[in-house]
């Protein structure tokens, strides 16, 4: 047995995270109001409509990115702007402040370029909400690679999302809990990098999990 399947560092504790949606007091009926909302809403609201929504719509793999882009497409009917907002990849951001800056930049440029569209009323208003988060240990712990694989197979979507996607905001690193543990506790840097390259926009959470499990099993076979 090599280091790949033996515990050499701290064990991995699996958690779950669940959200409650809190309704904010802001709503936007035009792109101008929407831009103002983006400037004034809480960090929790930006998180809710980007990171959190990707988790609750994980089964969509084509063209769905965040609530902002979806509203611009379906209610404000501005395809080009929707594409630009959808192109913002949450994995590029280590803080909500950075993500907000880019959202504002895209919106400001569009509203300046098309002031008539910016003032048009959308079919449905956009309501700014925010997530109230609770985390809870699942009582599931992995000491080695195979226990880790088994744990991953037992995770709910929310739990997988917590460790794999939203962890980068917590870690302030372009990585995830799984890769950090694989590298730091098992010394599997190559596997950690492969895991981090699994695309969450073109995979469902289930297919991302299947890819991760496959990578772990290949590593185990090598060992």
């Amino acid at each position: 047995m090599t280091n790949a399947v033996q515990a050499v560092g701290t064990p991995f504790s699996f958690f779950t995270m669940a959200y409650l949606t809190r309704i904010g007091n802001q709503c936007a009926r035009t792109l101008t109001e929407f831009l103002k909302g983006l400037e004034e809403c809480s960090d929790a609201s930006i998180f809710h409509h980007t990171f959190q929504t990707l988790g609750s719509h994980h089964f969509l793999t084509e063209g769905f990115s965040n609530d902002f882009a979806q509203w611009v497409l379906a209610s404000a009917n501005r395809d080009e702007l929707a594409e630009r907002l959808a192109a913002l990849d949450i994995r590029d951001y280590l803080s909500i402040a950075e993500l907000r800056t880019d959202l504002r930049r895209v919106m400001t440029a569009y509203c300046a370029q098309y002031p008539n569209y910016a003032a048009q009323e959308a079919l449905e208003p956009f309501y700014f909400c925010e997530g109230v988060e609770v985390t809870e240990p699942l009582g599931l712990i992995a000491h080695n690679l195979l226990e880790f694989r088994d744990g991953i197979n037992q995770l709910s979507h929310a739990s997988f999302y917590f460790h794999f996607i939203s962890s980068r905001l917590r870690l302030h690193l372009r990585t995830n809990d799984f890769s950090v543990w694989l590298e730091n506790s098992l010394g599997l840097e190559t596997l950690a990098n492969k895991v981090n390259r699994i695309d969450v926009y073109t995979n469902t959470l289930d297919s991302a999990r299947a890819s991760l499990v496959r990578l772990i099993e290949l590593e185990d076979e090598k060992a």
């Binding site: 609770v134 037992q154 709910s156």
Partner: protein, 409 residues
């Protein structure tokens, strides 16, 4: 108040084949810190109506998670329920001629129910306006009190809302079914989408034989495309517009239309709308107008499952649980972009949205021409409901709310 008896008990484990065991395990993990905590739910009726239906499912599931939950029903006389029905209509935007005695009756019946408030409860959840005044029985900010509003408050009558708002502002939070229904309040407001029970008669799996028998009973041809709208005969559901859209589609596809809803016999306005619908159908043999007794859940289930496309062409909508039901059954849905529908029908992802008769017809034609796209929309719609609009998610929302309130202290 009296303790309500739960009618149907479905074990939490029965949901595992539908949701996956990890989702059930997660719910147990979230409930662990809430074990043996006392929770009181209060509403105004034990049977009939959507709230009682939800509580009948929710309470046993919470009990299974070892939460010490009690469901109590407030007592009221005919005069009280007459007042609260008037309030209900006024809160939905109906007219209301202010009568001071209405407010006296409301206060008096709420006061008479004070003694049933369980002061040992850590969480008290009051459903809808009828028992909202019970908050005044709370002892010195004890426990956590939440008001769960199941109705559309987007255009409330100002006199009735002005009377209720001071009660609501005494709670620790309020729950609404849509951001649009929320009000400017000083207390936190939470969003709990309405939900369906996948194991109820209206939503559970049916065998093909039963579905075929329902189609045969209503003379519906299973070999040709079936377009269906399930809704009461109400102008806001635009059944006439649905027939007009069907007529456009019929020029290109040999399809049938099913309009099924509750009986209009005890609803004078429903009877008028039903006449309008029959006139518009003009005895077309491919248009089936079905008045179903008490919404015949198994028949509705079968009609939805047999449909090629489900339509919901509402002009105004609360959340639109008939859309949720159709999506759960993996059906491609064409629906109006109103109320809670866009939350469920994410355009081009979980269904198609339309804004007019012509748009509805076009989207139906598009799906009939592209069955592989219709199938994919249906599959994604099913996943969307599974993730977001099932009774288990509703229970999870309550768990998260209780955890976050207890940890905020």
């Amino acid at each position: 108040m009296t303790a309500a008896q739960v009618l149907n008990r479905i074990p939490l484990e029965d949901y595992a084949p539908l949701l996956g065991k990890p989702e059930i395990d997660e719910m147990r993990a979230l409930a662990r810190p809430l074990r043996r905590k006392a929770v009181q739910m209060v509403n105004s009726t034990a049977v009939g109506g959507g709230v009682a239906e939800i509580l009948n499912r929710l309470i046993p599931l919470a009990e299974e998670l070892e939460i010490d939950i009690h469901w109590d029903v407030m007592k009221g006389g005919a005069d009280f329920f007459e007042v609260t029905k008037t309030f209900h209509n006024a809160l939905h935007g109906g007219t209301y001629a202010t009568r001071a005695e209405d407010f006296v009756i409301f206060r008096e019946y709420n006061r008479r129910n004070f003694e049933m408030v369980r002061h040992d409860a850590e969480f008290t959840i009051i459903h809808d306006p009828q028992p909202a005044g019970l908050i005044e029985a709370r002892r010195e900010k004890a426990g956590h009190w939440i008001w769960r509003c199941h109705i559309d408050l987007s255009r409330p009558n100002s006199a009735v809302w002005g009377f209720l708002a001071p009660y609501i502002s005494q709670y620790d939070g309020a729950i609404f079914s849509s951001p649009e229904f929320s009000r400017q309040l000083a207390v936190p407001q939470y969003l709990f989408h309405p939900s369906i029970d996948p194991l109820s008669e209206k939503n559970r799996e049916l065998d093909d034989e039963f579905i075929a028998s329902v189609l045969a009973r209503f003379s519906i041809d299973s070999r040709r495309p079936i377009l269906t709208q399930i809704s009461r005969f109400d102008r806001l559901k635009d059944p006439v517009g649905v027939i007009r859209a069907y007529r456009i589609v019929k020029r290109y596809f040999d399809c049938q239309l099913v309009l099924a809803g509750g009986s209009a016999s005890d609803d004078p306005e429903g009877a008028i709308v039903l006449d309008e619908v029959r006139r518009e159908a003009d005895a077309d043999p491919d248009v089936r107008i079905l008045e179903l007794p008490a919404w015949a859940p198994l028949e509705v289930n079968a009609l939805q499952r047999a449909s090629t496309i489900v339509i919901q062409k509402s002009l105004r909508e609360g959340f639109g649980l008939t859309v949720t039901e159709a999506l759960w059954k993996g059906k491609p849905v064409v629906a109006s972009a109103v109320g809670g529908i866009p939350t469920q029908v994410i355009h081009k992802h979980t269904g198609l949205l339309a804004h007019s008769v012509e748009g509805t017809a076009y989207q139906i034609r598009y799906l009939l021409s592209h069955p592989e796209i219709a199938r994919k929309l249906g599959e994604q719609g099913h996943e969307h409901v599974k993730e977001n609009f099932l009774i288990t998610q509703n229970l999870k929302n309550y768990l998260v709310l209780m955890l976050s309130l207890s940890r905020a202290n």
